[in-house]
Symmetry: C2
Subunit: 326 residues, 2 copies
């Protein structure tokens, strides 16, 4: 049997239990890790493995210093290999994933990733190419206002990655062109666009807890929120027909930071109940740091979780239907 | 388009210019690197990339020290990933190959391997599994007598890998079971089995230049040596019908170390001429060290080269035939 026939046979037969794949794309320090963490915890480490596409950096920090482009440029990453690995994972095959160490800025020995029920793939480039996008069951883009993202990036990179505030600010300037050219355009391919930001009509401030605007694009069937969102819950959340940046119609869900925990929780539990799952409501959602919570984050995570669990259930049904065929 | 359909489409359309793949399998210090080096030079670095499957070691030297098995055990290697990478390469897709540093015994950052015209894959495991074997156009196994292999291993590992002779000898003992269970059985899957050894009927010695016995199994069409090997060249080379270890019939080509360079060269040039290639006869064949030559090695390399160049020509013909189809 030729190798060509072989891979095809594996592709044909290896399908049924393929993982549910979620993309979380966004610029550096847009909140990807925080969003991913709660999802990963809710899904459980036996069922889910999260990974970051920064691991596909082609150069280490020292090498990048002398290059004419930043880590946000496609040439600075093994995007072809990233696509290949996403495809393999989506087909239920293991990969030997490269490893970029953010703390030291070094490329290290690769590690085995075996297919699980769920894979959360977060990073700068998961929605960059058609081949990559085709691997995902749900595509999310994080789109905070630049002023907030810059504040988050300075805080994170000085705390965790050994940079000074001045270095981070200089780096942000250096990255601006690549960000505009390669990262922000990925927003257009997402099923869900999330913006954590003060809602201006309510005179909220950037310094306080942030509300969320969640654009639910009609590219996937979202949970039916009409039964959940009533006049009672309006102070916590409401859905509004809106126009996207490009003028296309979209559902805009506003989740308010100042709503009472009780009201938000009631909405969250209704969404959870609509899934028809026996499990208890996952309490890990909404965590942003030690003891800190964000109800808007919890709602965003819940909606994403809804999609992932439903995709898994749909796959199981398909497998069962497939199994009784002659 | 689902990711499953996508990989299949790539497999269907990506075929024609797939690389010619050669496996050189054998135990540690059986002569794989020396054999590979001359082939790689003859093929040229633009057309060929050689790699060693030791790169698929799962553990570094320090980790291996506390494990109950040696590097010759399948569990000590990412063999599933090795299979996957060989399949991808055979289909003309790039891979991000892990890297094992033999000098330091460490696992390092992976490196990109892009498909070339030829790939020489040498190592302990290329013929271990059916999936792996199916990737190769030609499969070679190196089978020196244990006494010679042990001498080579002590010399190489003390010179290049920072071990003492005592450590190498202890290591050989430790590896014996795994070698017998997992490495030597791969001999059965080779198209060509090569044994560099004194030919006893001629009272040759292990200390002098080594002759070669080359088993040409009828699993692939070998060059027609009947026109080349005459009474005139008998002192350099002769072909003998023989029985393999398992009793199966096989062509045994004896290449004598003590033959005159002129006679051997005449045979080599005849094989080369039979390829109908315009290129000059490659002078790099037969090199074993600084200024040292082995004519038996040159003949073995030439026969392998014959197969690789012919496989490439056959592929080109297929592509051309394919191209004029309606």
């Amino acid at each position: 049997m030729s190798p060509k026939r072989m891979i095809m046979r594996r592709a044909e037969s290896g399908g049924p239990q393929r993982p549910v794949m979620l993309a979380i794309a966004g610029d550096s320090a847009s909140g990807k890790t925080t969003l991913t963490k709660g999802l990963a915890e809710a899904l459980g480490h036996e069922r889910n493995e999260s990974m970051c596409t920064d691991d596909y950096h082609r150069y280490d920090r020292e090498e990048r210093a002398s290059l004419p482009f930043t880590a946000l440029h496609p040439s600075c990453n093994y995007l072809g290999i990233m696509e290949q690995h996403l495809q393999l994972l989506a087909l239920g095959e293991p990969i030997l994933k490269p490893v970029y160490n953010h703390h030291h800025g070094t490329l290290e020995r690769p590690e085995l990733v075996e297919p699980r029920d769920f894979h959360v793939i977060e990073g700068l480039f998961p929605l960059y190419s058609p081949l990559s996008r085709a691997c995902f069951d749900l595509k999310v883009f994080l789109d905070p206002p630049e002023s907030i993202r810059r504040r988050w990036k300075v805080a994170r990179d000085t705390r965790e990655r050994g940079y000074t505030a001045e270095q981070v600010i200089a780096d942000l300037e250096k990255r601006e062109d690549d960000s505009a050219a390669f990262i922000r355009p990925q927003r257009q391919w997402a099923d869900i666009v999330v913006q954590f930001a003060p809602i201006q009509e309510r005179h909220e401030s950037e310094q306080g807890p942030l509300s969320a605007t969640v654009l639910l694009r009609p590219t996937v069937p979202h949970p039916d929120l009409s039964a959940v969102l009533t006049e009672d819950t309006r102070e916590a959340m409401h859905l509004k027909l809106a126009r996207d940046e490009d003028g296309k119609p979209v559902d805009a869900l506003h989740v308010h930071a100042y709503a009472s925990r009780d009201t938000t929780r009631r909405v969250e539990e209704s969404i959870w109940a609509s899934l028809g799952i026996d499990d208890n409501f996952p309490d890990c959602l909404g965590t942003i740091g030690k003891g800190e919570r964000s109800e808007p984050l919890a709602v965003v995570q819940l909606i994403i979780l809804y999609h992932m669990l439903l995709a898994r259930a749909a796959q199981r049904d398909q497998v069962e239907v497939g199994a009784v065929r002659p």
